[in-house]
Each structure stands twice: as structure tokens, then as C-alpha cells.
């Protein structure tokens, strides 16, 4: 017994010894265990040394022995276990990657993933471990691919996409075809040269290879573009390519695979080729059709989920996936279906689902696609290291050369044509950038890796060539495109984030649509605006559908998502309204607590939360505005120039446009009365709602009215020019003292608080209580309306 234990121990130890220098590496832990377990297969494992009896009970073959208390079955969990470790490792690598600030600017993230993958591959290769079969055809097409495509479709910046849709379709569609056939045919010519030893590669195989190698994946380029803020059309060209290229390549790939299968048994006739072309069209169009239908269904369903918002994300994901599967069932293009589905439903879904669901959807989608892509990249790295390669200089070099040549041809030819129809043509610089952004990625590799070996005896060579092209484009082009963009000095959009611009641009959009209506033309702005009016479903029940359609149409008009910020791997960090609220509530509590303790000016004290959570005065208001604005415009949260340090400055000194009531000096005599009023109104439980809701702000209102009467305000012309009401904030010192206490208690003023006060300025003679009731009465219905935002349900 003891002998056996010792043996097991030493065997386990033998395995461990060679790797002990690396044992800090997280991954090795995973690799060592299977190593050990497979070596010690006859016994249970090496870690059971503490309980030899138990181990032998398990190892011994007597069936009526006791149940093993401690056992290990690694084979059972191997695949998910290692996959999890891969993803975790990649995530850790990403964290490290982004911790060092300069690195992300230097190279795209896919480089990192590939390197990590290659490391893992080297370890696996070194340990003679067998990598888990993560990738096979069905796994890739059913599970890995859909999230990536869905993410692309869902985060598509709708507006600029449809503004440039003609050029995008022209370029992405035809470009992929030209590249595929160009590369395939010219490689076929190369293969005819006997000296290269490639004469067994026939035309179909070459075409297939062309189709898979032409699937570009310019996500890395998009990140560079975003950072360099290149002009919108250029960005959209690359984005459109990223979005549609996959679909087209996969369709082509599948058709060619079918041809190859057929070719094995019989000859291909011209009819078949024609049928193939027809099929290409049908597969594409059918896929889009399916996607749009499912998109509308899910958009419709999300209208009724406001009471069970937990399933909102589920509906979005399930319907997208369903569209993919349904299209695939009919041999249509699932990729195009899921893209179309995401694009269609996005706008409506965003309107219908709750804020939290929306966030969930966003993050979950990013996460899924990032996981898929990480897996593919790592798997690519893993399969780089190994013996599964066939290096043929001629084939690989010519592939590389033809990829560049044909990309150049397709870019310059296609854009020459499309420039004829564009109001603002693409410059030569733009075209050069587009040419240079032909980065291959996960898609090409997966397709190459999934080639059926039975049909492609030289699959290894194809895989090798694909890997070389990917490595070349990702590492060399991906790293140099940033400097190139800067060097060429491509036309940039200097987009700042400001509410003014948002408003003006919005106004201009409506204006343009209006002018076009007046002209009675149907140009592409209108196509964009009104495309969705076409689907008037008048069948169901007339009234409901009517109102729903109105809302949908109004939604169309209302918000145009302008997230140019397409970042494959990250979402913009967002400060949600809730966080802002929380911060403010906590601050308020801190203030009150410090009041109780008798400090006159709470922010003078280093309170624990007060210190941490202390914000510039105006932040609350800015958050409120920001929130409204981002609700309306889907703006990203406000730039730091208002919330950040300058905000603090602006709040106290800079901006005199609106004066904030908290700044109003109050004579000490009135102070007590104000205090009474406010204390009555803003009891502890009510305080947050005072701060954040429009209702029950009467307390502040009263108070401010009093304030207003008292302040000597020369510059407040009440009647004539209302907008000149920049109150002065002459914060004189003697008043300041009296104010301190009150100011601490006073809730954060909001803009509308100021407004209301201003509006009701003429009724200043009225009793404050009357005003209070009036205000609360006015606001209650609004809140209700706000809560149940379906007119359909309201009616019932």
C-alpha cells in the first residue's frame, strides 16, 4: 500500500519537475493536471495522497467497496475547463495590455490575443498535450460566429451607415467578389506552373481559397480610425466592409464547397454555375429577408415586456439567434439574417426596453462576441504551433502578393466608379487607407481550418498560407496603419461632444427631411427616415396598431443613435444615472449627518464618504442634464469638461448665464423662516425625490422665491426679456456666514427648479402652500404617464 502511494507520488512528481520553473504560469496548472491524471490513469490521481485508503478504494476494482470521498475526473471537464482557462488567460492578458497605456496605441488587441494563443500553443506543443477540439464546423458556425456578427450588426451606427449605404454595398459586396475571384483565378494560374509542385490544386479549390482569404476583418483598423477620428464616410466604408464581408465570403464559401462536393462525383456543367449564381443571390436576399422579419417580431414583442423587463435581453438574443438558425435551416445566409435582424430591431428595442435591460443587452453582446473572438484568435495561435503545416514558398508568397494586388485593384476600381455618384468623393488618400486596411482575421482562419480534409488534400498548405496572410496583415499592417493614417493626414471629423451640437445637428436633420418633404423628393435622407414607414401593418386590430405605428414612427424621428464609437472590445465607460443618484444621495446624507453633529460647513470636514463622494456643486445638475440628453440622443455621458475639474470652476466662477439658487445670498433674518419651510417639506425620506424628481420640489421653490425677493437684483428684467435672467451671485462675505448652514441642507437645485421659479415669478404674491399643491398636482400625472409608457396598456 505504502509502496503504491510512493510510486504514485514519484510519478506525479516526475511529471511536475520539468515544468517547475514555469509553474507560476497560470495555464500550466491546467496543463499539468491532465498530464498527471493521464499518466496515473490506473490510480485515481496524485493529489489523493492524504487519504490513501480512499484512493485505493476507488482504484481497487472491488465494486462493493466504499464510495470514494475524493476523486478526480479530469477528462469529464477537460474541454470546458481549458476553454475557461483560455478565456480567463486572455482576459488577464487584456487587462495587462490596457494597464500599460502606450501599448494599445501601438498594436491592435488582436495581436495580443494571437501572441497569447501562440504561447498557449507552444506550451501545449511542448507538453505533447492534445488541444481540446474547440473548433469544428458546427461549433464554429452555430456558436462562435453568430455572436460576432450580431454584435457588429447591433452596434452599427445606423445613421451614417444608411447615409453611405450605396457606396458600402457597392464596395463591400463587389469588393469581396472581385477579391475572391481575382485571388482564386490568379493563384490557379500560378498552380499551373509545374516547377512549384502545385499542379494538383484545381480551380475550384483555388476559388475556395480565394473566397476565404478575401474575408477581411478590419476591426483593428476601426479602433485605429476611431482614435484618429477619421472622417465619417471612410470609417463607414471600413465598418460596412467588416459587417458585410463575412456574410458574403461565407455564402461564397458554402456554395463553392457544395460545388467541390459535387465535382467529386460528376462534372460541373454551365447550368450548375448559373444555378450557383442564382443561389448566391437567393441566399443573400433570403437571409436579409428573414432577418428583417425576425427583427420586427422581436421589436414588436418588446413593446409588451415592461412588466417583466428581466426577459427583455433574452428576447433580443433569442430572436437574433432564431433568425440565424431559421435562415440556416433553409440554407440561407444566417449571417446576413442575424445582421439584418439586429439592425432592424435595434432602434425599436432601444426605445422599448428599460434602461437596465438596454445596458445588459449592450454588455452581454459585447461580452459574447469578445469571447468568441478571443477563442478563435487563441485557437489560431494554438494551431500555429504544431506540425500541421505544409510550407510551400511559392503558394504562400503568391497568396500574399495577390491579396495586396487584388485589394488595390478592387479599391481603386470600385471607388473610381462610386466616386462618380457621390457628392463628396473619396480622395486618393482615403482609398489608400482603405486599401491598407485589408486586415484578415478570425473569419479567414476559421474557414480555412474548417475545410474538409477529404475534399482538400492540401488543406494544410491552405491553412498555413492563411495563417501567414493573417499574421502579416494583423501584425505589420495592423501596427503600421495608425502611423500611416497620421502621416497621410486623412481628413478628420473633429467631433466634440456638446449638447449644442447635438441639438443643432438634430434640428438640421429634421430641417433637411422637411425640406425634402416640401420638395416632394425621395432622396436618401428620406429613405433613411422613412424606410420604416413602409411596414404599415393594418391588419391586426385597427386602433392599437395605429397607435403603435405612430409611436414607432415617432421613435424614428426621435432618436438617432449616433454611436460612432465602435469599439469591438470595449464599451465606453458609462456613469449611469443611478450611480449619479447614489452619489448625490449619499452626499446628501453625509451632509445631513454632519449637520447633526453641528458642523456648519460639512465639506470642511474630512468625512469618510463626504470626502470620497464629494462632487462639485453642479455635478448633480449636470448629471441630470446629461442623463436627459443621453436618453434623448443616446449621447455618451457628458465629457469631463463639464463634470470634471473645469466643472467645479465653472460652477463657482465661470458661468453666469444661469445663476444657481444655492448661490443666492440670504440675509440672516429670513433664514429662520426659510429653514422652517424647508424642514417641513424636505423630511428625510423625501429628500432624494426632491433632488431628482420634478415633483415635490415645492420646498425649494418656496425657498427660492423668498430668496429671489430678497436679493437686490438689478439684472433681472422680469417681463420683457425673460432670457436675461442671469441672477447675480454677489457672494458677499457677511451674507455668506448666515447662509452656510442653510446651504448645507438645501438639496441640489436643478435647472427646472430654476425655470419653474422663474415662470411663476409673476405670481409671487400667492401663498406658497397653494403653489406647492399646484405643482405637485401638476406633476403627478406626468409621472404616471412616464411610468407606463405604453399607450396601449394605458387604454385598457
Amino acid at each position: 500500500m505504502t509502496y503504491r502511494v510512493g510510486e504514485a507520488h514519484s510519478m506525479g512528481f516526475q511529471v511536475f519537475v520539468p515544468f517547475s520553473p514555469w509553474s507560476w504560469l497560470l495555464l500550466l496548472v491546467a496543463l499539468k493536471c491532465p498530464e498527471a491524471s493521464s499518466d496515473l490513469n490506473e490510480s485515481t490521481n496524485s493529489t489523493a495522497q492524504r487519504e490513501p485508503n480512499v484512493r485505493f478504494a476507488a482504484a481497487g476494482s472491488e465494486p462493493d467497496e466504499k464510495i470514494s470521498v475524493f476523486a478526480l475526473d479530469y477528462d469529464y471537464v477537460q474541454i470546458p475547463y481549458e476553454v475557461t482557462l483560455w478565456i480567463l488567460l486572455a482576459s488577464l492578458a487584456k487587462i495587462g495590455f490596457h494597464l500599460y497605456h502606450r501599448l494599445p496605441g501601438l498594436m491592435p488587441e488582436s495581436c495580443l490575443l494571437i501572441i497569447v494563443g501562440a504561447l498557449v500553443g507552444a506550451i501545449i506543443f511542448g507538453t505533447d498535450h492534445k488541444s481540446p477540439p474547440v473548433m469544428d464546423s458546427s461549433i464554429y458556425f452555430l456558436y462562435l460566429l453568430p455572436p460576432i456578427v450580431l454584435e457588429g450588426g447591433y452596434f452599427m451606427p445606423t445613421r451614417p451607415f444608411f447615409e453611405n449605404i450605396g457606396s458600402i454595398l457597392w464596395w463591400a459586396g463587389l469588393g469581396a467578389l472581385i477579391n475572391a475571384f481575382g485571388i482564386g483565378l490568379s493563384l490557379y494560374l500560378i498552380c499551373q506552373i509545374k516547377a512549384f509542385g502545385l499542379s494538383d490544386v484545381n480551380l475550384l479549390q483555388n476559388l475556395l481559397f480565394g473566397s476565404l482569404i478575401s474575408a477581411v476583418d478590419p476591426v483593428a483598423v476601426l479602433a485605429v480610425f476611431e482614435e484618429a477620428r477619421v472622417n465619417e464616410p471612410l470609417y463607414m466604408m471600413i465598418f460596412g466592409e467588416a459587417l458585410l464581408n463575412d456574410g458574403i465570403s461565407v455564402v461564397l464559401y458554402n456554395i463553392l464547397i457544395a460545388f467541390t462536393k459535387m465535382h467529386k462525383f460528376e462534372d460541373i456543367e454551365p447550368v450548375d454555375i448559373l444555378a450557383g449564381c442564382a443561389r448566391f443571390v437567393i441566399v443573400g436576399v433570403g437571409g436579409v429577408f428573414f432577418g428583417v422579419i425576425f427583427g420586427f417580431i422581436s421589436a414588436f414583442i418588446t413593446r409588451f415586456t415592461q412588466n417583466i423587463s428581466a426577459i427583455e435581453p433574452l428576447i433580443v438574443f433569442m430572436f437574433s439567434y432564431l433568425s440565424y438558425l431559421a435562415a440556416e435551416t433553409l440554407y440561407l445566409s444566417g449571417i446576413l439574417a442575424i445582421t439584418a435582424c439586429a439592425v432592424t430591431m435595434k432602434k425599436y428595442v432601444e426605445e422599448n426596453v428599460s434602461q437596465t435591460s438596454y445596458t445588459t443587452i449592450k454588455y452581454f453582446m459585447k461580452m459574447l462576441s469578445s469571447v468568441s473572438e478571443t477563442l478563435i484568435f487563441i485557437f489560431m495561435g494554438v494551431s500555429t504551433v504544431g506540425k500541421n503545416h505544409e510550407w510551400n514558398w511559392a503558394f504562400i508568397c503568391f497568396t500574399l502578393v495577390f491579396c495586396q494586388i487584388w485589394r488595390a485593384i478592387s479599391v481603386f476600381a470600385l471607388f473610381y466608379v462610386s466616386n462618380q455618384f457621390r457628392t463628396f468623393p473619396f480622395s486618393i488618400k482615403d482609398q489608400c487607407i482603405i486599401f491598407y486596411s485589408g486586415v484578415r482575421g478570425a473569419g479567414s482562419f476559421s474557414l480555412a481550418f474548417l475545410l474538409p480534409l477529404s475534399l482538400f488534400p492540401r488543406k494544410k498548405m491552405f491553412v498555413t498560407a492563411t495563417l501567414v496572410v493573417i499574421y502579416f496583415t494583423v501584425f505589420i499592417q495592423g501596427i503600421t496603419i495608425g502611423p500611416l493614417v497620421r502621416y497621410l493626414d486623412v481628413k478628420k471629423t473633429n467631433k466634440k461632444e456638446s449638447i449644442n451640437e447635438e441639438l443643432h445637428i438634430r434640428l438640421m436633420d429634421h430641417l433637411k427631411a422637411g425640406i425634402e418633404d416640401v420638395c416632394g423628393h425621395w432622396s436618401h435622407y428620406q429613405v433613411r427616415d422613412k424606410a420604416q414607414r413602409i411596414h404599415r401593418i393594418k391588419r391586426l386590430s385597427p386602433e392599437d396598431v395605429e397607435s403603435m405605428r405612430d409611436i414607432l414612427t415617432r421613435n424614428m424621428y426621435q432618436v438617432r443613435q449616433r454611436t460612432l464609437s465602435y469599439n469591438k472590445y470595449n464599451l465606453k465607460p458609462q456613469t449611469s444615472e443611478k450611480q449619479a443618484k447614489e452619489i448625490l444621495i449619499r452626499r446628501q446624507n453625509t451632509l445631513r449627518e454632519s449637520m447633526r453633529k453641528g458642523h456648519s460647513l460639512p465639506w470642511g470636514k474630512p468625512e469618510d464618504i463626504g470626502k470620497k463622494m464629494f462632487l462639485p456643486r453642479r455635478v448633480g445638475l449636470i448629471f441630470r442634464i446629461t442623463h436627459c440628453a443621453s436618453e434623448l440622443f443616446s449621447l455618451r455621458p457628458y465629457p469631463t469638461n463639464l463634470t470634471g475639474t473645469s466643472g467645479r470652476r465653472a460652477g463657482t466662477k465661470n458661468i453666469r448665464y444661469l445663476s444657481f439658487p444655492y448661490g443666492h445670498p440670504q440675509p440672516a433674518g429670513r433664514d429662520t423662516r426659510v429653514a422652517e419651510l424647508t424642514d417641513n417639506d424636505s423630511s428625510d425620506s423625501e429628500l432624494p425625490s426632491i433632488m431628482f424628481k420634478a415633483h415635490s420640489r415645492a420646498g425649494i421653490l418656496q425657498e427660492r422665491r423668498l430668496t429671489q425677493e430678497i436679493i437686490p437684483m438689478k439684472s433681472l428684467p422680469r417681463g420683457g426679456k425673460p432670457s436675461h435672467f442671469g441672477y447675480q451671485r454677489n457672494t458677499s462675505q457677511e451674507e455668506h456666514d448666515g447662509r452656510g448652514r442653510r446651504e448645507a441642507l438645501r438639496p441640489k437645485p436643478l435647472f427646472h427648479a430654476v425655470d419653474e421659479e422663474f415662470e411663476s415669478g409673476e405670481e409671487s404674491g400667492e401663498e406658497t402652500s397653494a403653489i406647492r399643491s399646484r405643482w405637485s398636482g401638476e406633476h403627478r400625472p406626468t409621472r404616471q404617464h412616464h411610468r407606463s409608457h405604453s399607450p396601449l396598456l394605458q387604454r385598457k
Binding site: F421, T423, F424, P425, K495, K496, S498, I499, N500, E501, L503, H504, I505, L507, M508, H510, L511, K512, A513, G514, I515, D517, V518, C519, G520, H521, S523, H524, Q526, I551, R554, Y557, L621, R624, I625, C628, A629, E631, L632, K653, N654, I655, R656, Y657, L658, S715, K721, P722, S723, G726, N730, L750, F751, H752, V754, D755, T782, H785, H786, H789
Partner: protein, 257 residues
């Protein structure tokens, strides 16, 4: 006179239109860079006359002859074959109903400042010339223009937008006016309360103040966005690539400012 003129109205319109061109040229004083003549091929009277009388030597016409023809047809449709359009005529445009800033758009058509007829006030009715004048604000900018022309064009477009905000034509967008516009903009959405619209306008105004004035004295009051401030706000946006309407997919579009 000219062969092929089918109806008197059209000819009237054409005369008015020619007058407009002459006036426009006179007003401009300088002759801008002229673009190609409109492409031939259209058999209609207007374009015949156009190409006869306005061969390349005439500069700066807002839109090409085909477009004018198109617009004239539309004008007649809107006016119900009357020589002028009144405000009520815009009610006939069904697509416009959903536009949240509908009233502002309609108003812009009758704004004397946009029509270059005065510094304030509204016209009661506009004729085809005026209609064209309004439309000419929405030309795309030609790539062959030099920097100065682009700037001028940009300014014109921005002025049009500015007038949409500045409803009392005092040269300032006051807070009230701004709020008004924002409320209208957001009126399409039932979920948004009026006051959120206001707080947005207020925030925007504040931002404008900080952008345009920067450091302000304690007793200084920002009275409203002047046109210069407006230009400042728009600095980052290349409006010349945005504010244009493709009247048609036309071949050539000549420019003026």
C-alpha cells in the same frame, strides 16, 4: 418666342426666375467661379431656354435647370397652380406632418431674412423665386470651390439655421427661443417631459456661454447666442458636407454664395 413653351404659367415662372438670376448676379457683384452648363438632353422648354440664355458665362445659379423644372412642378403642385404659396399650402404636405419642427420649417420659408427681403418679419406669401431662394440654401458645396467660397457658403447655411432659432430677429438666440426650439424638437417623443426639454436647453445655453465667452465677470450676463457665437459653436461640424439636400440625383450643380 421660344419654341416649345407649352404654357403661359411656365413661361411666367421662367421670366421670374431669369429675373431672379439677374438680380442675384447684381446683388452678388462679383462673379464667382462658374460651373459647367447644365447637361443637355432634356427636351423641356425650361431647360431649352436655360441652356440658350444661360450658357456657361452666367455664374452661380443655385440649381441646374432640371432641378428647377422639378422644383417648379412641385411649386405648382403645392400652390395649387397659383403663382404664390401661402402658409396654408404647406398643410398639404402629408410627410411634413410628422416633422416635429414643422412650424419652424414652414416659417423659415416666409422669413424675410431668408428671402433677403428685409431684416425681420414674415412674408405673407412667396413666389417661385422666393421658393428657389430658400432651396438654394440647401445646395451641396462643390469640391472645386476654393476655401473662401466654402466659408461664405458655410456662413450662408449657418445663417439660415440661425434664423430658425432666432424667431424675433434680434440677432440673438435667447434662452426662451432656444427652449422653444428644443421643446419642438422633442415634441415627437411622448416620454419626454417638457421640463427635461427645458433643462436640456438650459444646459445647452450654459455650455454655449462657456464656449463663447469663456471667463465671465461676476456681474456679466450672457444674453443669448449671437451669430458669431453660433459660428463658434458650429466650428467643429463640417456643415458644408451635411446641410444639403439632393434635390435630384443631378449631374451638375453650380454654386454661388
Amino acid at each position: 418666342m421660344t419654341p416649345g413653351v407649352h404654357c403661359q404659367e411656365e413661361w411666367d415662372a421662367l421670366c421670374r426666375f431669369l429675373r431672379l438670376v439677374v438680380v442675384g448676379v447684381a446683388r452678388l457683384g462679383s462673379v464667382g467661379e462658374c460651373h459647367q452648363p447644365p447637361a443637355g438632353g432634356s427636351s423641356s422648354a425650361v431647360s431649352d431656354v436655360f441652356s440658350l440664355s444661360f450658357s456657361p458665362s452666367l455664374p452661380c445659379f443655385p440649381v441646374s435647370s432640371d432641378q428647377i423644372e422639378q422644383l417648379h412642378r412641385r411649386f405648382k403642385q403645392l400652390s395649387g397652380d397659383q403663382p404664390t404659396i401661402r402658409k396654408e399650402n404647406f398643410n398639404n404636405v402629408p410627410d411634413l406632418e410628422l416633422n416635429p419642427i414643422r412650424s419652424k420649417i414652414v416659417r423659415a420659408f416666409f422669413d424675410n431674412r431668408n428671402l433677403r427681403k428685409g431684416s425681420s418679419g414674415l412674408a405673407d406669401e412667396i413666389n417661385f423665386e422666393d421658393f428657389l431662394t430658400i432651396m438654394s440654401y440647401f445646395r451641396p458645396i462643390d469640391t472645386t470651390m476654393d476655401e473662401e467660397q466654402v466659408q461664405l457658403c458655410r456662413k450662408e447655411k449657418l445663417r439660415f439655421l440661425f434664423h430658425m432659432y432666432d424667431s424675433d430677429s434680434d440677432g440673438r438666440i435667447t434662452l426662451e427661443e432656444y427652449r422653444n426650439v428644443v421643446e419642438e424638437l422633442l415634441s415627437g417623443n411622448p416620454h419626454i417631459e417638457k421640463e427635461s426639454a427645458r433643462s436640456i436647453a438650459d444646459g445647452a445655453m450654459m455650455e454655449a456661454a462657456s464656449v463663447c465667452v469663456g471667463q465671465m465677470e461676476p456681474d456679466q450676463v450672457y444674453e443669448g447666442i449671437t451669430f458669431d457665437d453660433f459660428l463658434k459653436i458650429w466650428q467643429g461640424i463640417d456643415i458644408e458636407t451635411k446641410m444639403h439636400v439632393r434635390f435630384l440625383n443631378m449631374e451638375t450643380i453650380a454654386l454661388c454664395h
